[in-house]
């Protein structure tokens, strides 16, 4: 009986603290003010685990067809490059202004500070990329392109993103130009 009373008290206190934080306005939501390391870690871990869980059963199709690079390239240029950049570009207004900062997809895994190990990881990356493009990420600036684009078109973007870190600015220009 004592334990249940204590638990009830803790729950009421927790709810009270949460409500106070919510309505007092003390949480700074400005994008130019970074989270504390702890909050950043909590949010990032939550996001990464959520994407990994949601995307694990997605079957990756054959992404080696060169035609996919042409469809995906044009879509990438017009839908993604403003935030996720392109070969030879280091920053943009969006890449600097968004928080969390959108990853530079023109960089290799090594440039990002981690390595990719074989086909399994490549497939996992493709699955995650597909899921993120299709469903977007809440409160991050990443839209759900699946609402307006079919799966085939999204897979073409995934295929293009696979090649993107190895493209020169000249190759990028040709692949992403309109017909």
């Amino acid at each position: 009986m004592k334990i249940s009373k204590l638990l009830l008290l803790l729950a009421v206190l927790g709810l009270g603290a949460g409500t106070t934080v919510m309505y007092s306005g003390i949480v700074n939501v400005a994008a130019d003010e970074p989270h504390s390391d702890l909050v950043y870690w909590l949010l990032e871990e939550t996001r990464e685990n959520s994407i990994a869980k949601a995307s694990r059963n997605i079957v990756v199709p054959d992404l080696s067809d060169p035609e996919l690079l042409l469809t995906g390239g044009t879509d990438y240029e017009f839908m993604c490059s403003t935030c996720h950049l392109k070969p030879g570009q280091k920053e943009s207004d969006m890449s600097l202004g968004l928080y969390p900062a959108p990853p530079n997809l023109a960089l290799t895994h090594e440039d990002h500070g981690h390595e990719e190990h074989g086909d399994d990881d490549a497939d996992q990356t493709a699955r995650k990329n597909f899921w993120v493009i299709k469903h977007g990420i809440k409160a991050s600036g990443m839209p759900a392109w699946g609402i307006t684009h079919d799966d085939q078109r999204i897979w073409a973007m995934v295929a293009f993103m696979k090649q993107l870190p190895n493209l020169t600015p000249e190759q990028y220009q040709v692949l992403t130009a309109i017909d």
Partner: protein, 101 residues
């Protein structure tokens, strides 16, 4: 000579300052936010160095061939004499409309 020195003293800092300020303003010029639909620049492609097993090279070739084909088709369908005639008549119509206003 003195007048020239005075002019230089006023002009040099003014030009330097305006150049610096315009440089800063350019960083957020709206034209940087506009995406232009560009044609593929195929002039720098060296076909002999291309690996035809590489999907990137194959895709680039396809893009450039498609573009060349489209350009050829557009050139074939052109009737220059008719185009001039159309241009002339459209100008005439514009002028007529302008008078109406």
């Amino acid at each position: 000579m003195k007048t020239l020195t005075k002019i230089a003293l006023v002009l040099i800092p003014t030009i330097t300052l305006s150049a610096t300020l315009s440089g800063t303003a350019n960083a957020h010029d709206p034209k940087f936010h506009v995406k232009k639909a560009e044609k593929a620049n195929c002039s720098g492609m060296d076909h002999s160095k291309m690996d035809m097993k590489d999907p990137v090279a194959v895709a680039m070739m396809k893009k450039c061939m498609k573009q060349a084909k489209a350009a050829k088709k557009a050139m074939k369908g052109m009737d220059h004499s008719k185009m001039k005639k159309d241009e002339h008549s459209s100008k005439k119509t514009d002028g007529h409309n302008a008078q109406d206003h």
